[in-house]
Amino acid sequence: MNKTVNQKAWFFVLPVLILVAFNAIVPLMTVVNYSVQETFGNNVFFWSGLTWFEDVLTSDRFHASLGRQLFFTFSILAIEVPLGVIIALAMPRKGIWVSVCLVLMAMPLLIPWNVVGSMWNIFALPDIGLLGKTLNTIGFDYNYTRQPGDAWFTLILMDVWHWTSLVVLLAYAGLVSIPDAYYQAAKIDGASSWAVFRYIQLPKMKRVLTIAILLRFMDSFNIYTEPSVLTGGGPGNSTTLLSIDLVKIALGQFDLGPAAAMSLIYFLVILLTSWIFYTVMTRDEEN
């Protein structure tokens, strides 16, 4: 067969190519460019090889914020995923309450991130905030601006409040797609409610939960706005997550090289973890 050679078709993809170049490739390559150079100002750059990568990977500061980041991400996943599934199981499947529940659930997701931060910042203030004041009145010594433990508690609580809904909605979508016959068959087979969950609901929710966990992992690993408005990384450095630390280095200290190297490492950590997770979760479907 003779194929007509016509390279004009490339013009059709050109707009997309330009768009992607300007919003992804160019910025990313700029960061790569910074990460291998040293500058002393005046827009003069010197080649520095992989020095910045070595510096970042061996720095205690990076290890500490990476540790805090991992702790944050795994804490919120450990809470939000089971909690989301439990709420989804408890939600009604029929009737007018379905839409009421869905709207209530979607509410936190609609609030802008910096508003969430501000809300919780005021809500948790020990002297005038509803949460802070209440906790202190009933006898807890609670002050999230001074005590690291309290800051962490508030931070995790805020994220659970803001994002559990996402897991709920996804899990709920998985649940309602299970045909009635499965529940009827389970009844006939004499399955306990635990067995129904373990052998029917959980397997049918697996796909959506994989997506939920992936989304929550990536989002929480990237999180900046809410903790930055709530605690600003404090008290001290106690809630300085990776993104907050990165902004401090890049825009606070204007260390472009180390900041660029850190960004790339940060990016690779997310990419690698997501890939491993996805591969493991979808592996046995292919068999």
């Binding site: 016959a181 068959a185 009844k187 006939i188 004499g190 052998y199």
Partner: protein, 357 residues
């Protein structure tokens, strides 16, 4: 195992049924003998699945009682009734192997593992699943999955009845026949009461010893396949069973006999004085060409292989007749007659002269 008795059963999905149409199931009295093979036959929406779910305990009837033997089980759960049910779409537990799927109903009831193994192997042999026992159930084809559903219904030894809710809907046509014969064979082996719901007359007539025909929430006739064919007690049965269905011709009544176009038609039964809305029912198999009889005109002939279906116009009505392949079809005007032993008068759908059920 037990005899199943339904007494005064009624069901509506609405909380306040007022009209006749609000009832998914109208008053019903039925008895199923232990060990019988029954079919519930009717068009979609006639209430057969409702009835099945009431028997299995998935649905609580609005009125009436369900008795297993002498025990009232109207409000008992499916588990307490020891019922097995196979659904329209195959239900398998995806994450389990075929073996675990079959063992699931037994393990849930705390049966000892050696007994489970023994029983599962026995059932797997019956349902041709032995070779696949270690495979994941999710990888099987639709008919394989339906066999698992079936196997799960058979695996318990103490079931009172096995109910099938259109189990062959998603099965390929050439496998349907195989699975149906398998079911029939299993019935003779395990000797359980089996109730099979379907809208397909072939399935019902080949599977069941007794067929219960339903229409709009009512049982219209219960009988063997032969009875349903030869002596339909309702025009619906005549029309629904048989291909093509029974000819239904409006007629007048004079002194208990049917009059069609001024001719007296010999019938097997007589109409009563109060019968209204009368029709003659005669199957296409029992309409013949004749030397004397009603004037008729052939309008179409369709050759369907071993027989021919002839469309004729007679006294302003169009009828169908079924004749053998080698029989000559007269062209144009001719005369036809009905076999008196297979021609009956119906009033308001019901066979005349029949005691009210």
């Amino acid at each position: 195992m037990a005899r199943i008795k339904l007494s005064g059963l009624k069901h509506s999905y609405l909380s306040n049924p007022a009209k006749d149409e609000d009832w998914a199931l109208k008053e019903l009295n039925l008895e199923w003998q232990d060990g019988g093979a029954y079919a519930l036959l009717g068009p979609s929406g006639c209430g057969k699945t409702t009835l099945l779910n009431i028997i299995s305990g998935l649905l609580d009837p609005s009125h009436g009682k369900v008795l297993f033997g002498d025990e009232d089980v109207t409000h008992a759960s499916p588990e307490e009734r020891h019922i097995a049910q196979v659904f329209q779409f195959p239900v398998v537990y995806d994450t389990m192997t075929v073996f675990d799927n079959l063992a699931f109903p037994l393990r849930n009831r705390g049966v000892e593992e050696t007994t489970v193994r023994h029983r599962v192997e026995e059932i797997a042999a019956m349902t041709d699943l032995t070779a696949m026992l270690d495979r994941r159930a999710s990888g099987l084809t639709a008919d394989g999955k339906q066999k698992i559903s079936l196997g799960r219904g058979l695996v318990r030894t103490n079931v009172n009845a096995i109910l099938f809710d259109e189990p062959l809907t998603v099965i390929d046509p050439h496998l349907k026949f195989q699975l149906r014969s398998k079911l029939k064979e299993l019935h003779s082996r395990v000797n359980n009461t089996m109730i099979y719901v379907t809208h397909d007359q072939t399935e019902a007539l080949t599977f069941a010893d007794k067929v219960v025909v339903m229409n709009v929430g009512e049982v219209v006739q219960i009988g063997t396949p032969k009875e349903l064919f030869e002596r339909p007690e309702h025009t619906f049965v005549g029309h629904f069973i048989g291909s093509p269905g029974m000819n239904i011709i409006p007629c007048e009544i004079n002194n208990g006999s049917a009059l069609l176009d001024g001719h007296k038609i010999k019938t097997e039964n007589k109409a009563g004085d109060n019968d209204s809305d009368t029709v003659i029912g005669v199957r296409p198999e029992f309409v013949h060409f004749a030397k004397t009889g009603l004037d008729a005109k052939v309008s179409k002939v369709a050759d369907v292989g071993r027989s021919k279906i002839v469309d004729i116009e007679c006294a302003g009505h169009s009828l169908k007749m079924l004749i053998s392949e080698d029989q000559e079809v007269p062209s144009g005007n001719t005369k036809i007659s009905f076999d008196p032993a297979a021609t009956r008068i119906y009033s308001n759908g019901r066979l005349c002269g029949l005691e009210a059920a």
